[in-house]
């Protein structure tokens, strides 16, 4: 699995105490993993810092699953 996925997974486990086995590319961050708007902002902040990318707030609603986030960041990184 990609570096970005691994990072996002660690964030979800550490920040939100989510069971690792529940985290896969198709998991919906709000509906399946139970994140609220604060969790999302927190996760986005960490991702932005780690990979030196910006995720504009108007993009949040398109980033529903873990995979959406990972792909968005990887696209930005030009992979």
């Amino acid at each position: 699995m990609s570096k970005v996925f691994e990072f996002v997974k660690t964030l979800l486990v550490e920040n939100m105490q989510i069971d690792e086995s529940k985290i896969n590319m198709d998991a919906n961050i709000i509906e399946d993993l139970g994140a609220d708007s604060l969790d999302i902002m927190d996760i986005v902040n960490d991702i932005e810092k780690e990979f030196n990318v910006t995720i504009p707030q108007d993009q949040y609603e398109n980033l529903r699953t873990v995979g959406d986030v990972v792909n968005f960041v990887e696209d930005k990184l030009g992979k």
Binding site: N15, D36, L38, D42, N45
Partner: protein
């Protein structure tokens, strides 16, 4: 009553109410971070705090300066968490609205309201991660009742009250409590500027028949920061001898 060893940030903590707050927390083996633009009298304060068994760190920070606050917060967070924030620094520039200069409006709003935003904004993330924290904003009864010649001050303090309630709702799920204290008429350098007649007039309106002391406000801060207040958030608590009810 308060846990020992907490890290506490007090803005405007060198004199007046902020000094009393710093001293009150110094009785609990705390680490007290004081930010102020003025360090006059800090050395004496430092030795009292240390003889009470606490540690104190001073940083010359202007809370109105967003970037300076960000840096100062990060400097602390590099090695420590902040458990409790007391947004106390504040100023007055009284004038009837007709004569109020733009600068008198701007500076009061910027220090009092934006300063509270600057400090809270930069610290909140670490509290969210830690899933605990307590923010106490020093408002004023004037923010609730208004006052002739204080439209700027009243607006800034009413703003702090709205800010307090909103933030309490945002971060309550993360076990962070945010409250405001509305002091009444407290004896400090801020009120020393007033004439004896004004003071007499005011005292008549106070059921407890005296001006408040900075300690009265400081004691309430310690209570709100302690576990005794663990179910209190989003509130404005008056500390005013009954002046406003």
């Amino acid at each position: 009553m308060l846990n020992k060893g907490l890290n506490i940030l007090v803005t405007g903590g060198v004199r007046g109410i902020g000094k009393a707050i710093s001293l009150a927390f110094s009785k609990y083996e705390s680490n007290i971070y004081i930010w102020d633009i003025n360090d006059n009298g800090f050395d004496e304060l430092k030795s009292t705090i240390e003889s009470n068994g606490s540690k104190v760190f001073f940083n010359k920070v202007n809370i109105a300066d967003f970037a300076q606050v960000e840096k100062a917060v990060n400097d602390i967070l590099e090695s420590n968490n902040i458990d409790i924030v007391i947004n106390n620094a504040g100023i007055t520039k009284d004038n009837l609205l007709m004569g109020m200069k733009e600068d008198e409006w701007d500076s009061v709003i910027t220090v009092n309201l934006k300063g509270t935003f600057n400090v809270s904004k930069h610290i909140i993330r670490s509290m969210i991660k830690k899933r605990s924290g307590c923010i106490i904003n020093i408002a004023s009864v004037i923010g609730l009742m208004g006052n002739k010649g204080q439209a700027n001050y009243a607006a800034s303090k009413a703003g702090i009250i709205g800010f307090t309630k909103s933030l309490a709702k945002e971060v309550g799920s993360r076990n962070i409590r945010v409250n405001a204290i509305a002091p009444g008429f407290i004896e400090t350098e801020m009120t020393l500027k007033l004439s004896e007649d004004v003071i007499k007039e005011y005292s008549k309106m106070i059921p407890l028949k005296r001006m408040g002391k900075a300690d009265d406000v400081a004691d309430l801060c310690v209570f709100l920061a302690s576990d005794m207040a663990k179910y209190i958030t989003g509130q404005v608590i008056n500390c005013d001898g009954g002046m406003l009810m």
